[in-house]
């Protein structure tokens, strides 16, 4: 008799937990369907959380690693004006990384864990940053094309279903605008400069164009996470849709620059009202992802080195804080904000 009761109790509990889970899921689905935002304290499916952590971590890592190719030119910028601009841009990218790491932390991961995974090669960053910056014109091409592609990707993310991510993207998009314009202005100056400068600008565009198109990720029929991310409204448009949008934006901009895009197959498709463009070399993309790009090794080594060499700063800050909190009259452990969510 006692055993039966216990059994019934167990079944009863299991039923209630399942019902609760179903109710949670219904609330979550309704919020997503209504274009509401999901906030950190809301219930969410584990797969949604994991998918967000993966995407936001990769995004944050990209901002931080992305500082390297451009920082390479700070000391050799051709004028004080260009140097100040480039420093401000690289500084912004550091800031973007920090916004995104904090947003990812609202999902219950720690920053240390994210950085460890980056350093161990277990989380990715955008493959674009594994290409080298060979000339000063690359700074212009990165601003115009790489930041341009990032903006095309990021504008719809401002409406992402996860609140902290969407809000970080609003801040980032506002700041990105100057990144793209300074790059365009730089290329315009080179393009209308001496023949050698013009050639340097064209060479940079030739090298950065295809990798920029790859930034939108694999084609739709080969994209592992796309469909689910769209259903959850983390993503709003498919990779190919955004890529085509980017091509449409760039073609007239290249004309004003007086530079050509290295794709003989680009032409206006009257019927679709869009540009057609040539086939992308996805083997190159896969190779770079696998670690065989021109700079993969260099980027990760530099990142690890920066982290290790910064250890004394973190240690000193912690020692100072310890000493400070040991003094009488100061608060000890940091208070947590108390929250109520309706």
């Amino acid at each position: 008799m006692a055993a039966v009761t216990a059994d019934q109790t167990t079944q009863g509990t299991a039923g209630t937990a399942e019902e609760a889970e179903a109710a949670h899921l219904a609330t979550f689905d309704a919020a997503v369907a209504a274009d509401d935002r999901i906030e950190p304290r809301d219930w969410m499916p584990e797969a949604y959380r994991a998918s967000l952590v993966r995407q936001m971590a990769q995004h944050a890592h990209s901002e931080i690693i992305g500082m390297q190719p451009e920082a390479n030119w700070i000391s050799r910028a051709p004028s004080l004006r260009r140097k100040a601009i480039l420093m401000a841009k690289v500084q912004d990218e550091a800031g973007h990384g920090l916004y995104l790491y904090s947003a990812a932390e609202t999902l219950g991961t720690s920053r240390e864990e994210l950085l460890d995974k980056l350093h161990a090669g277990r989380q990715r960053y955008s493959s674009i940053f594994n290409y080298p910056t060979l000339t000063w014109a690359d700074v212009g091409a990165i601003g115009w094309l790489v930041d341009g592609a990032a903006i095309t990707n990021q504008v719809p993310l401002c409406r992402c279903s996860y609140g902290p991510y969407a809000r970080a993207m609003v801040r980032i998009c506002k700041e990105e605008s100057f990144h793209q314009r300074q790059g365009y202005e730089l290329l315009l100056a080179l393009s209308h400069g001496t023949p050698a400068q013009h050639e340097m600008a064209q060479d940079a565009v030739n090298r950065w164009w295809w990798p920029s198109l790859m930034m939108f990720g694999p084609p739709d029929d080969a994209s592992a996470h796309s469909a689910q991310s769209m259903a959850w409204k983390i993503k709003r448009h498919s990779n190919d849709e955004l890529r085509r949008r980017f091509v449409d934006i760039c073609v007239p901009q290249a004309q004003v620059l007086g530079l050509s895009l290295p794709d003989p197959d680009i032409r206006w498709n009257e019927k679709l009202g869009q540009h057609d463009y040539g086939a992308i070399d996805w083997t190159e993309f896969q190779e770079v992802l696998k670690g065989n790009g021109p700079c993969n090794e260099q980027r990760l080594t530099q990142r690890r080195k920066a982290h290790e060499e910064g250890a004394w700063v973190r240690d000193a800050a912690a020692a100072y804080a310890d000493k400070h909190s040991a003094r009488p009259g100061t608060a000890g452990a940091a208070a947590q904000p108390v929250e109520a969510t309706a």
Partner: protein, 96 residues
């Protein structure tokens, strides 16, 4: 029994709707965090101004000093190149 003036001060942050961040609404006195939350609800969201509330002990907030306002924020003052309008782009170029 302590009077309400001895109670700590709490800063109240309200999220007005899903998707927006919490913004500072004001402050209140309360003996503890739970009471502060309830009071904040009654004081700052009587007309359904919020869907989420935070209360933070005022003593836990470190603020910049108003006297140092000029020198503190000065580093950003001479960097107009952080704004997109700093750059000259030819007429007619779109999406930039």
């Amino acid at each position: 029994m302590s009077s309400s003036t001895d109670w700590p001060l709490w800063e109240v942050f309200v999220r007005s709707r899903r998707g927006l961040s919490h913004t500072h609404a004001g402050s209140l006195h309360a003996p503890d965090a739970e009471m502060a939350l309830r009071n904040a609800r009654d004081l700052y969201t009587r007309r359904s101004e919020g869907v989420s509330l935070w209360v933070v002990p005022s003593t836990e907030i470190t603020a910049s000093s108003p006297d140092e306002k000029d020198s503190f924020f000065e580093p950003a003052g001479d960097k107009p190149y952080r704004h997109p309008t700093f750059y000259e782009i030819p007429e007619g170029v779109k999406h930039l």
